[in-house]
């Protein structure tokens, strides 16, 4: 069975969804991400959906599930690169992806994840008092 690759980069996992996923592939990805987080002790998951032409309620639920499962395992998830037409459609469909952090680009998402990891590691308040 084919799979969406889950790449490891330092403490982060990177996923780029480039195919029109059938439902089983989406569920497989959900499984793979949770396994990789525990295997590598990842603190962040970045999912790039810029090549996705649609996000329906099934894919939306998969993204929300990945975010929730990762959080339980101690990792933050950021979904990046959603196309404007996809965002419009998702909201009209009734899904605003609550609980899923989003960013416009891979760079912005990466920054968000690294900041979140630093805050967890050192404590946000300490960092502020030092600044």
């Amino acid at each position: 069975m084919d799979r969406i690759p889950v790449l490891r980069m330092g403490s982060l996992l990177l996923i780029t969804i480039q195919v029109d996923m059938h439902d089983k592939l989406a569920l497989q990805l959900q499984d793979d991400v949770t396994h990789r987080i525990t295997e590598y002790g990842s603190t962040g998951v970045l999912i790039d959906i810029s090549s996705l032409e649609i996000v329906d309620s099934f894919i939306g639920r998969m993204l929300a599930n990945v975010a929730a499962m990762s959080r339980v395992l101690g990792a933050e998830t950021v979904v990046v690169g959603m196309q404007p037409a996809v965002a419009i459609t998702l909201v009209e469909l009734g899904m605003s992806l609550p609980g899923v952090r989003t960013a416009l680009s891979v760079e912005a998402g990466m920054e968000l994840l690294l900041t979140a990891a630093a805050e967890t590691a050192y404590g946000f308040d300490d960092e502020r008092s030092q600044a």
């Binding site: 029109d20 996923m21 032409e53 649609i54 329906d56 309620s57 459609t89 998702l90 469909l93």
Partner: protein
């Protein structure tokens, strides 16, 4: 209303749902729908195709290029021979689900198209028709 072109896509597996989405994309591109309209129609098709597969135990999608008083559009008909829906009004409400979904399929796809109709008979099956005009 004239039907100018018609095609059918069986919905027997989750790769058929992907094929249905691709067919709708191809037809809506040919009709030069705007990107947002394309995305809305494909998303609605994806929801309804999955419904036919998961709740209706498989079925088929008919796609038609239609014209009416100089307007053109795409009509999609999703038919299954599944258990049917006992309470359509309830099934159209957001958050109503009998399966593993979010319960946004029917009500959500209704919001994404211009015309939506549903006929269902318990024990016989369900037929959902949607139209998006250009």
């Amino acid at each position: 209303m004239n039907v100018l072109k018609r095609d059918e896509q069986p919905l027997k597996s989750s790769s058929d749902v992907v094929a249905a989405r691709q067919k709708v994309r191809q037809w809506s591109t040919e009709l030069r729908f705007s990107l947002v309209d394309q995305t809305k129609l494909i998303t609605a098709a994806s929801e309804l195709a999955r419904n036919a597969l998961d709740h209706g135990k498989g079925g088929a999608m008919t796609i038609e290029l239609i014209s009416n008083h100089g307007k053109s559009g795409l009509r999609l008909i999703f038919e299954d021979q599944g258990p049917g829906i006992p309470d359509i009004e309830q099934a159209l409400k957001d958050g109503f689900t009998t399966g593993s979904g979010m319960g946004l399929g029917l009500g959500g796809s209704k919001r994404l198209v211009n015309e939506f109709s549903i006929e269902s008979e318990v024990g016989k099956g369900t037929k959902v028709t949607i139209i998006r005009w250009k």
